[in-house]
């Protein structure tokens, strides 16, 4: 017998009044983005572990004659990315309170911060005095830098779309799940710079001093 033959079904749950809007963990997409972040974290972990594995098998790290890179601009990038997490947070707060203009401003501010980081990174790529095919150190630095660069590009692109939609009054305190998940991904991309920053700019210093 199939359900459709049931003549007097008992309805013990009524979905009529349940919200059709979502603000966070009640939305499958929120969990989907968490899944995406877990996947990407596994990739980040694979890179970091490969990095240390290769440090271990190489007697000199970085290779002979290769000075460890300068710290200033990568650190500036780090700070800018952390600030951008704050502006994204403020953007979320604003949309919760239906302050759409503030929301749009904070979102664009985050995009601007990310863009500055991209410019800094791009300029730094010009100063790398080794190529990706010189040695495995070069391969690692270029690959990891490129990986993170592409992620900042995509987070900034996605967030620009969110900002544009915000200007079209698409988001408000009810309709905000797009902002929530975009922020989630943004935080991941910004914070992923911490391990990369440490292995690309600090690890070579440590191994250099340790090695003599």
């Amino acid at each position: 017998m199939s359900m459709s033959e049931v003549t007097e079904p008992q309805f013990s749950v009524d979905a009529t009044q349940l919200s059709r809007f979502h603000g966070g963990t009640d939305a499958p997409i929120w969990w989907g983005i968490v899944g995406l972040i877990l996947i990407e974290m596994s990739v980040v972990a694979a890179f970091v572990i490969s990095y240390f594995y290769l440090v271990m098998v190489n007697p000199t790290w970085p290779p002979e004659g290769q000075p460890a890179s300068e710290l200033l601009w990568p650190t500036v990038s780090m700070v800018l990315l952390l600030v951008s997490c704050v502006t994204m947070y403020l953007a979320g707060k604003s949309v919760n309170r239906d302050r759409v203009t503030a929301f749009v401003i904070y979102t664009w501010a985050s995009v601007a911060l990310a863009t500055v980081v991209l410019v800094i990174r791009w300029l730094q790529f010009q100063t790398f005095d080794f190529s990706w095919n010189d040695h495995v150190y070069g391969s690692l630095v270029w690959t990891i830098s490129g990986f993170h660069f592409l992620h900042v590009v995509s987070a900034a692109t996605g967030t620009s779309v969110v900002a544009l939609l915000g200007m079209k009054k698409f988001f408000n305190s009810k309709q905000r799940i797009g902002v929530v998940v975009d922020t989630l991904y943004w935080n991941f991309v910004a914070l992923a710079w911490i391990p990369f920053y440490l292995i690309l700019y600090w690890a070579p210093r440590m191994t250099q001093t340790a090695g003599g």
């Binding site: 359900m3 309805f11 939305a27 877990l38 990407e40 690959t143």
Partner: protein, 634 residues
Amino acid sequence: MHKSPTYDQTPEATAPLSQTWQSPPGFVSWFTHVNQRQIGYRFVVTSLIFFALAGVLALIMRLQLIAPENTLLGADFYNQLFTMHGTTMMFFFAVPAMEGLGIYLVPLMIGTRDMSFPRLNAFGYYVYLIAGVSLFVALFLGMAPAAGWFSYVPLANIAFSPGKGMDFWTSMITFIEISALAAAVELIVTILKQRAPGMTLNRMPLFVWSILVMSFMILFAMPTVMAGSVLLALDRAFDMQFFVASGGGDPLLWQHLFWFFGHPEVYIIMVPALGIISTVIATFTRKPVFGYTALVLALVATGFVSFGLWVHHMFTTGLPHLGLSFFTAAGAMIAIPSGVQVFCWIASLWGTRIRFATPMLFVLGFFAIFIIGGLTGVMVASIPFDTQVHDSYFVVAHLHYVLIGGAVFPFFAGLYYWYPKMTGRLMSERLGKWSFALIFIGTNLTFFPMHQLGLEGMPRRIYTYLEGMGWGDLNFAITLAAFVLAAGFLLTLINAVISRTRGAEAGDNPWQADTLEWAATSPPQNYNFRHLPVVNSRHPLWDEADLTRRQYVKGLRADRRELLVTTLLEAQPQSVLIMPGPSIWPFLLALVVGFGFLGFMFQPLLFVVGFALSFFAITGWLWPRKPWISTKEN
């Protein structure tokens, strides 16, 4: 209140719901389908086609080995064949087949109408299809990879494998991982957030548990191999140095990256199989399996421990001693959850009247085959023995016992079991039993003698052997047996095709099973369930056989795709999700991404073109719909 068409029982009233959830007919529209049942069905059918193709490759290999110094195939083509056979069986048959069953069945088993991200689902399918077809096109062009299914470097480095074959491998493996990861996220979220009200985690069917564990394993294992295959691709395309010893790289790094995924991979295939077994046992003994909680914990434990096993495959590479002992211990530890499961199953079968229908036969076959595979596994897990038989036919025998026992038998059990739900008709029991007998006998006759060949020293992956080695007779017998095995598989294929139109009508619940998928019609309607069910026990169809006691959800609209979101642990109703309908964009996105990956092999810049094009496809895909704004909700 009672004006909404959802509450109305008349057939005319189901029309709007059916209309809303319909997948439009027609050839072009085929590419727009997103409903979970269409996609799941396609995954299953496509994976079976790849199974058949890989099987044909195996038969060709066996024909080459039928006699010493045979000249049917050359060394290079033989290398391509075993590489393609292994790669296809692992990546394009076993994993997608299990995912396909999960995609088709999980929403039905947990009482919902679709998966959380239907378009992503469709995208995953096309990615899978494109990757698989490209690899086989490469084979026909004589450009197939030939470095084995795990593509060890340095053999797979550009210096030793200069052709396009390896590039196909790295691109398409990266590509298919995307599909597997998409399905994994999709399944996890659907299982966690869309269970019928009242279906607490503690009441979730064991098959759903097994799919959940499988998906989490994919989530953590596949990114590693994806990172690995990307690094290998970069090495090959841009002369990077990750696995090149002269540049400071290390070939062993590849082995670590690959086996970190590779060993769990075996369990990724096996864990859903365990779910199938528990399901079939419960149904064909007509009582709940013994030790539900123990079985769930065993599944979860298997998932965890399998990650500790990757170094297993590298015993002969000379790792530090303490490390090796640790991994031997991990190898032994996996025996604990396996033991628990076997005890629970034996206890479930004990003293019951078993119905020996075909699905049950395949489950019993699994026990026999898998135990032999497990025994030889314990043997190779001990380091001295492994060093002896490493890379011999003993390993070929072991891995086929494990994979055929652990994946193919349960999958076929599942196929016979759920076929009636998917098609509305039963498969022929007579053909099924013949097929089972041939497969069971064929498997043993084909693979058991390989143990002997291995002990006699016949190495794996050789395209021929000398007369004087004395391996000719066994190899001759093995090749004949392989054809018996193939005939067994062919019978099931014929059975499936014939029964599609001629099989007996199945009705909703032909096996008198307990889980929710059997409450839907066979095949299910567009909308899966007329009313979403409310669950009060672990075995809803047994405990509430009295239909008047069943409870349902009301208040979902029929004029747009709505389904219920529930809380993670307790499955309390939380909100209503509005689902997207059919769309061509997932297909287009898969095409441009595929273009990027394939183009990359010939001209790296094309990857950037693919990347740019995919931006348009994603925009088209996500173009905001505002159904909640255009209707008067509040």
